[in-house]
Amino acid sequence: MKNKIKIERAVHSFTQDELAQKIHVSRQTIHAIEAGKYVPSTVLALRMARLFQKPVEEIFELEQEDL
């Protein structure tokens, strides 16, 4: 799964720490999601979408291997 967290973070000019605090997770979690090492839960994905005011599908995208 691909995600645009890093881009959204840049758009809103949040650091990893700030984003982590806003959605109540650790900075390591943001780092792992951005690096594609961790796929967040639906709850966390929805929380991010709400923060960035975008539908989840615009932030997270399935890749060929996920189909």
Binding site: T15, Q16, V25, S26, Q28, E34, Y38, S41
Partner: protein, 156 residues
């Protein structure tokens, strides 16, 4: 679901202290070439002395140094292993779970190795250590993974 089994973070430091005392007490006899030699009356569900009859549900006087170090070690290690991190979240829970899988696998691979290549009385030592190794390997692995994650650079 996994998180429900965890204690609050403050128990982790208490666990490290108890574990430390347990390790010190179990290492001390080797360092100072003395035995702890603590005997005390204990309630034994089963007591099987080298010479004599097996007793059940009775109070017996016996050496409790192994009991003491074992209980301290296990209590400490359980507290360390089952306490939340300061910022325990879903990713850390997943690291916790994968570390546990890793620890169980490595533990049993080591045991398999010992089964194949260690014979005689020394195998009893393997069994003794093996009682503690799953927890120990888990604690080492999880803390290593956490440390590696904490040292990641802060990205803007």
């Amino acid at each position: 679901m996994f998180m429900k089994l965890l204690l609050p973070h403050r128990w982790k430091n208490i666990g490290w202290t108890v574990l430390g005392v347990g390790v010190l007490l179990s290492v001390a006899p080797f360092l100072f070439h003395t035995d702890l030699n603590l005997t005390a009356p204990v309630f034994a569900m089963v007591h099987d002395p080298v010479l004599g009859k097996t007793g059940y549900f009775s109070v017996v006087r016996t050496d409790i140094s192994f009991t003491l170090t074992g209980v301290l070690f296990l209590t400490g290690a359980l507290l360390v292993a089952f306490s939340k991190e300061k910022n325990e979240d879903e990713y850390i829970s997943s690291l916790r779970l994968s570390s546990l899988l890793w620890a169980v696998l490595v533990n049993y691979l080591l045991l398999l190795f010992a089964f194949l290549f260690i014979y005689g009385i020394d195998f009893l030592m393997v069994m003794t250590y093996n009682m503690f190794t799953v927890l120990l390997i888990f604690i080492i692995r999880f803390n290593y993974v956490m440390l590696r994650n904490k040292s990641l650079p802060h990205e803007k």
